[in-house]
């Protein structure tokens, strides 16, 4: 683990060194090197072929205005403030956690609720779980899957099948084997046809 940290530390120093701002005597080399790339993606001729065809892009001239003006005062202030805050944080952490272990423990015992809140990352994960994940799960399982898909949609499909077979079972009983019934049905047919003609 330490090796990784060492590598990262070295990398940070190198990157910072390359990009030392003008206020401290450097050339912000990295920023200047990257600037043209940002201009290119935001400004250019409209794309006419391929997947992005038709998307209109801004057509702007490369700006030199970014270089204008002297921002030294702002830069120094920002650098200074952020450095001081970092140093305070390092100092406080050293004081509390390295030297006087009992102070944080007492604070934790005294302000138990706040401590737990902070320890559990403001319970954000649990809130997400309760308000979003679980409801979606429940709705999906009981409502969408078991309720809607299985009962309603699939039920309709199977219902069509049951309807046909239900009608079939009922109609099947009409075929009762009695010749009289059969003759009756023939007769009903005859009457129906004649009735049709009479009605016209």
């Amino acid at each position: 683990m330490a090796t990784a940290l060492i590598v990262l530390a070295v990398g940070s120093i190198v990157a910072g060194y390359i990009n030392i701002p003008h206020a401290l005597g450097g050339h912000t080399a990295l920023t200047e090197w990257l600037t043209p790339a940002f201009q290119a993606t935001n400004c250019g001729a409209p794309v006419t072929t391929g997947e992005l065809a038709g998307l209109a892009l801004e057509n702007c001239e490369p700006t030199e205005a970014a270089e204008a003006g002297d921002h030294t005062g702002l830069e120094l202030t920002l650098m200074g403030v952020s450095s001081i805050v970092a140093l305070i944080g390092i100092g406080l952490a050293t004081f509390l956690w390295l030297r006087n272990r009992q102070i944080p423990d007492r604070m934790a015992a005294q302000y138990g609720g706040v401590y737990r809140l902070l320890l559990n990352k403001y319970y954000v994960d649990e809130v997400y779980d309760a308000t979003i994940v679980q409801p979606i799960k429940v709705v999906s399982t009981e409502g969408l899957w078991r309720g809607f898909d299985v009962k309603l949609v699939d039920g309709a499909v199977n219902g069509a099948g049951y309807l046909v077979s239900g009608v079939s079972i009922v109609l099947r009983l009409l075929q009762n084997g009695s010749v009289k019934t059969y003759a009756m049905s023939t007769f009903v047919g005859v009457v129906a046809i004649l009735a049709y003609y009479l009605w016209r």
Partner: protein, 479 residues
């Protein structure tokens, strides 16, 4: 070929002759001599087929009442196919169930004569004559298993109700004769067209009664109630014969009478037939869903197919008439194939037609199961089978005449019917083999017949052009 007054009836004469020879052959046969009677029938049918082919496009006519036009000849050929397959499948059942061979085959042949006459007759009275010839033979065939009470009951019910319906039919003919002064179909259409008869109650009554008679034979709702019982009681091969041959003959006559003779009054009878067709399609498929006996299930499916044929009739356009002919051919092959399989599964004591008897058939008789599945898919209207082309053709006719409602009812009932067809497939393929009576070994002749039927269905499904052409040629001659 020398043309004579008998030309148009030559196909029928062949078959009649064969039937008589069969009767005599059995009479003169000694007790235990085994004479091949079935081939005699096949020879007669072959002769009829040859004669029909030779008479094609010649538009002959006999006795003023029998017409040898392409339409009748097409129906003849379909009937020959029906008869041939029936006889081939019967060879096994006759022997196995101990049926009286001579009478059996003779009745089949005489029934075919009646059916051929129905398809070729141009006179209402001759149609009635043919109807009765066919019906009586079929009644006998339904009850030919005299030892089974169910068969006898079925035959008797069929006979009673058939007589009932025939009386309506005759009454209708009487009314039509009374109003038009003729029983000849062509004459009738001329006379009706000459004087507008739309409001005439007598002719309307005649038409209505005639519809009843035909609808009974086709087993259309609400005149269908005889058919589940009759189909269940008859031996399976005969059920196949009935459901295809009788329907073919009846529809052919129906088309001739209504789309030729009564054509000028189409506005009067089309609405009725619309309702009958719609109800038939719906009732046939919906009630079929609840059946557990295979023969009954297929009986209801036959009812539904009658409804599709009627839809073609209602459409009444050129496409519709050709579609009916195509449908008859496709349906005959398919249905007979399916009933052939059922016949071969049964044995003497049990018809083995309950759904559970087919459980796991795939494991014991894969070829039979595959054939059955194929026929069922064709009945359901799946490509690339003949059933699909036939359904498409009929619905095309209906839509062409603007009957979208009928087409939608038709296609949706097709979907419902797929359910009970697939139930059999599920039984055969997707359930495990459980202990049940093993069917007797299948004769190779019967298997050959099944394969021929399957090839026919596949051929018509993939390359229907030829048959469509023939069907269209058949229509152009008379309509």
């Amino acid at each position: 070929m020398m043309s004579s007054a008998f030309d148009a009836v030559i196909p029928m004469l062949c078959v009649t002759l064969a039937g008589l020879v069969v009767l005599l052959a059995e009479a003169f046969m000694r007790k235990d001599e085994k004479m091949p009677i079935a081939p005699l029938g096949l020879i007669g049918l072959a002769g009829a087929a040859v004669a029909s082919v030779l008479l094609w496009d010649r538009n002959t006519e006999s006795f003023g009442v029998v017409s040898g036009d392409n339409f009748g000849l097409f129906v003849n050929l379909v009937l020959v196919a029906v008869g041939a397959l029936t006889i081939i499948f019967s060879t096994q059942t006759v022997e196995r169930d101990g049926l009286p061979a001579g009478e059996y085959y003779a009745m089949v042949l005489f029934a075919i004569v009646g059916m051929m006459l129905m398809g070729q007759a141009t006179d209402l009275l001759v149609i009635f004559l043919a109807l009765e010839t066919m019906s009586i033979a079929v009644y006998i065939l339904t009850g030919i298993r005299r030892d089974m009470q169910q068969s006898t009951e079925a035959a008797f019910k069929y006979f009673l109700l058939g007589a009932f319906a025939s009386s309506f039919f005759l009454y209708g003919i009487a009314f039509l004769y009374g109003t038009t002064g003729t029983t000849n179909i062509d004459e009738m259409s001329t006379r009706i067209a000459a004087q507008s008869m739309s409001g005439n109650p007598m002719i309307l009554l005649g038409i209505g009664l005639l519809i009843v008679g035909f609808a009974f034979k086709i087993a259309a709702v609400p005149f269908h109630m005889w058919s589940p019982d009759a189909y269940e009681g008859a031996p399976a091969v005969i059920t196949g014969f009935m459901s295809t041959g009788v329907k073919a003959a009846a529809i052919a006559a129906f088309v001739r009478v209504f789309l030729k003779g009564l054509d000028p009054m189409i506005a009067d009878w089309a609405p009725i037939l619309w309702w009958i067709a719609a109800l038939t399609m719906i009732v046939g498929t919906v009630v079929g869903v609840a059946q557990t006996s295979l023969k009954r299930m297929l009986a209801y499916s036959s009812i539904a197919h009658g409804g599709y044929l009627l839809a073609g009739l209602v459409a009444g356009n050129e496409v519709g008439k050709a579609a009916i002919l195509f449908y008859l051919a496709a349906y005959a092959l398919t249905n007979l194939g399916a009933f052939g399989v059922i016949a071969l599964i049964g044995n003497r004591e049990r018809a083995n037609d309950d759904l559970r008897d087919y459980a796991g058939l795939y494991h014991t008789h894969p070829a039979l199961a595959a054939l059955m599945a194929f026929f069922l898919l064709s009945l359901g209207g799946f490509p690339p089978t003949a059933g699909f082309i036939a359904k498409w053709y009929i619905f095309s006719a209906a839509i062409g005449s603007g009957y979208y409602g009928l087409a939608i009812i038709g296609v949706l009932s097709s979907v419902v019917s797929v359910f009970f067809y697939l139930r059999i497939v599920v039984m055969m393929y997707m359930t495990d083999r459980d202990a049940r009576p093993v069917p007797a070994p299948i004769s190779s002749l019967a298997m050959g017949g099944l394969v021929v039927a399957m090839l026919g269905v596949l051929y018509l499904g993939v390359l229907p052009t030829r048959l469509i052409e023939f069907a269209q040629q058949s229509i152009s001659t008379i309509f």
